[in-house]
């Protein structure tokens, strides 16, 4: 944890494994995929529970509305595809089939962000969080590592209502120790600090932790908060961060429009305005390359966070 990276499994792998556990515990759990089950890892469930797995083919819109129909009959459907296809291709189905009647459907989009790497922009979900947050009544979560994923997928299954969870393709560094408690809508403070708070989620949490270590050598004391739930966002955690540290940097693997940064800024503006900085994609798609190369080019590394911290602190 913290300054050094120790890799766990990818969050998509943790999702698949958790689905299998849930399948054993609850016969109402059913799983749908759109011909990407080997990549989203819902295939792990398919192998164990053939009768409760529905491969809907490359037809995401039909998959989402079918999941809605299953939910009206008491099933708890988990529907998966890549984050990009799941949210962008089915937005109207999510709007009318799922969100409008507030049905108990769980959407899990893998391959979120640009860290999928080589496959390039068409496969990268960089607007999924903004779309999910625009659906009234949706819970939207971005787990940082395998421990967070297991906990949040379980909480999603217990929660009665629509949920979107983003998972990622590459192995994710551990930011949690086993046994940490999670709650939907409740951020976790990973590191206390006095000078500024970095609020992050997904893979950017580890980048934020490393940025905090680098800052500590420069005499800047950084607080790090994992805002795994973007909606409902943890208002108290944001206000507390603003009041105790007086400045906030938000870091996410997503377009800056409509993501975590926007959600945090709205709460801060309404309650306790402080200087803020933002790390994320600035009005652009990414491209093919290694995840590290892309993080560097598009400004998502710990070094970028450090620079944003220094810039933001000056405005205090």
């Amino acid at each position: 944890m913290s300054c050094k990276r120790v890799y766990g499994m990818a969050t998509r792998d943790a999702y698949g494994k958790t689905l299998v556990e849930l399948g054993k515990e609850n016969p109402n759990i059913v799983v749908l995929d759109a011909d990407l089950s080997k990549s989203t890892k819902s295939a792990l469930f398919a192998k164990e529970f053939k009768d409760r797995f529905f491969n809907m083919g490359i037809a995401e819109a039909n998959m989402v509305s079918t999941a809605a129909g299953l939910a009206t009959c008491g099933k708890i459907p988990f529907a998966s595809s890549f984050a990009s296809f799941l949210m962008c291709k089915t937005f109207d189905q999510l709007r009318m089939s799922v969100a409008n009647p507030h049905l108990n459907v769980k959407l899990v989009g893998s391959h979120g962000g640009i860290s999928i790497g080589e496959d390039g922009a068409s496969q990268m979900g960089v607007e999924d969080i903004a779309l999910a947050c625009a659906l009234p009544g949706f819970v939207v979560m971005v787990p940082a590592d395998e421990i967070a994923t297991r906990a949040l997928v379980r909480l999603a299954a217990e929660y009665a209502g629509p949920v979107y969870i983003r998972t990622g393709r590459p192995k994710a560094p551990f930011v949690y120790q086993p046994g940490v408690r999670f709650e939907i809508g409740k951020a976790n403070v990973l590191r206390e600090g006095r000078d500024i708070t970095v609020i992050a989620n997904g893979l950017l949490v580890q980048e934020a932790m490393e940025a905090a270590c680098q800052c500590s050598e420069k005499g800047i004391d950084v607080r790090v908060v994992d805002m795994h739930t973007v909606k409902p966002v943890d208002v108290d955690a944001i206000i507390q961060s603003a009041r105790t540290t007086g400045a906030i940097v938000v870091a996410e693997e997503h377009l800056l429009s409509g993501g975590l940064g926007a959600a945090v800024a709205q709460v801060a503006a309404e309650n306790s305005p402080v200087p803020m900085g933002f790390i994320g994609l600035r009005d652009t798609y990414a491209e093919s390359g290694l995840p590290e190369e892309l993080f560097k080019k598009y400004g998502l590394t710990s070094l970028h966070i450090v620079a944003e911290i220094e810039k933001t602190i000056k405005r205090k």
């Binding site: 009768d51 819109a61 039909n62 079918t66 129909g69 009959c73 089939s97 409008n100 009647p101």
Partner: protein, 269 residues
């Protein structure tokens, strides 16, 4: 209810539709009137349902995918006893549970939120899949429009429902040949519609969608069909029952004036 009873009920529902839409000063009379005989047969003869227990797990389900025809459904629900008939006259008004298009959760008996076309068959397929998983006997009926069949999702659902052998699912196409902008054949031709559905693996029945004998026979046949879902291509007339609305595309989405309302009600008396 016997055939004469159903005919009388269909007439009552048509009168309700005219009154509701005139009262609201907006709505879709054409597609509501074309769907009326089929909806009447479903709610007053074919479907197992209980207005006192709208959440009864064993009930047959009806999804109105062409949500703009909802006045016909609201009337059938009220006349079945789901809610007071007087509530019908609040259609589309602020605070009414009778939304302009159906919304699940606002009104007992509405099984899905529709109105954005193309989604209902997939939702019905999900209900039918759940019925198979739970080994329940209920049937799922989905009414779609002919214009609505231009939506790609309809054909995604058609593929999947046939693949999963959802013989507990029946699609009914209210084939009134018109859509908002004009005749379907002048916009995107759907023919040969029977061949298309057969090619997608469905049992296809073609009927006159205003002949109650044919409607009941087709719905019986659909229920008895094994191994595959059934689609009933119901040839209908847009605006059926009101002479000046029949085949008049202007009444796709236009309310009758006070004078037209009286004229229509006289024709339906």
């Amino acid at each position: 209810m016997d055939i004469d009873g159903l005919r009388g009920m269909a007439k009552t529902i048509r009168r309700d539709i005219i009154r509701m839409i005139a009262e609201a000063s907006s709505g879709h009379p054409g597609g509501s009137l074309s769907a009326t005989d089929i909806i009447t047969a479903l709610y007053f003869k074919v479907m197992r349902h209980d207005p006192k227990r709208p959440g009864w797990p064993e009930r047959d389900r009806f999804v109105l995918s062409k949500g703009h025809a909802v006045p016909a459904l609201y009337s059938a629900l009220a006349r079945s006893g789901y809610f007071a008939v007087d509530l019908l006259w609040t259609l589309r008004k602020f605070g009414s549970p009778l939304q302009g298009h159906p919304e699940m959760g606002r009104l007992a008996g509405i099984e899905a939120s529709t109105g954005s076309l193309g989604q209902g068959l997939s939702i019905g397929a999900g209900m039918a899949l759940a019925g198979k998983l739970d080994k329940k006997e209920y049937q799922v009926y989905v009414m779609i429009g002919d214009g609505e069949s231009e939506e790609g999702q309809i054909w995604e659902a058609a593929m999947a429902a046939a693949y999963y052998r959802l013989n507990n699912l029946t699609a009914i196409i209210d084939y009134n040949s018109q859509q908002l902008d004009g005749w379907v054949r002048d916009i995107i031709e759907l023919e040969p519609i029977v061949d298309k559905w057969k090619a997608f693996g469905w049992h296809v029945i073609e009927i006159d969608g205003h002949d109650l004998h044919q409607i009941l026979k087709a719905l019986d046949e659909a229920k008895a069909t094994k191994q595959m879902p059934t689609v009933i291509i119901a040839r209908t007339v847009k605006g059926k029952g009101v002479s000046f609305m029949e085949n008049n595309v202007e009444f796709h989405g236009m309310a009758p004036t006070a004078e037209q309302k009286e004229l229509a009600l006289r024709e339906l008396s």
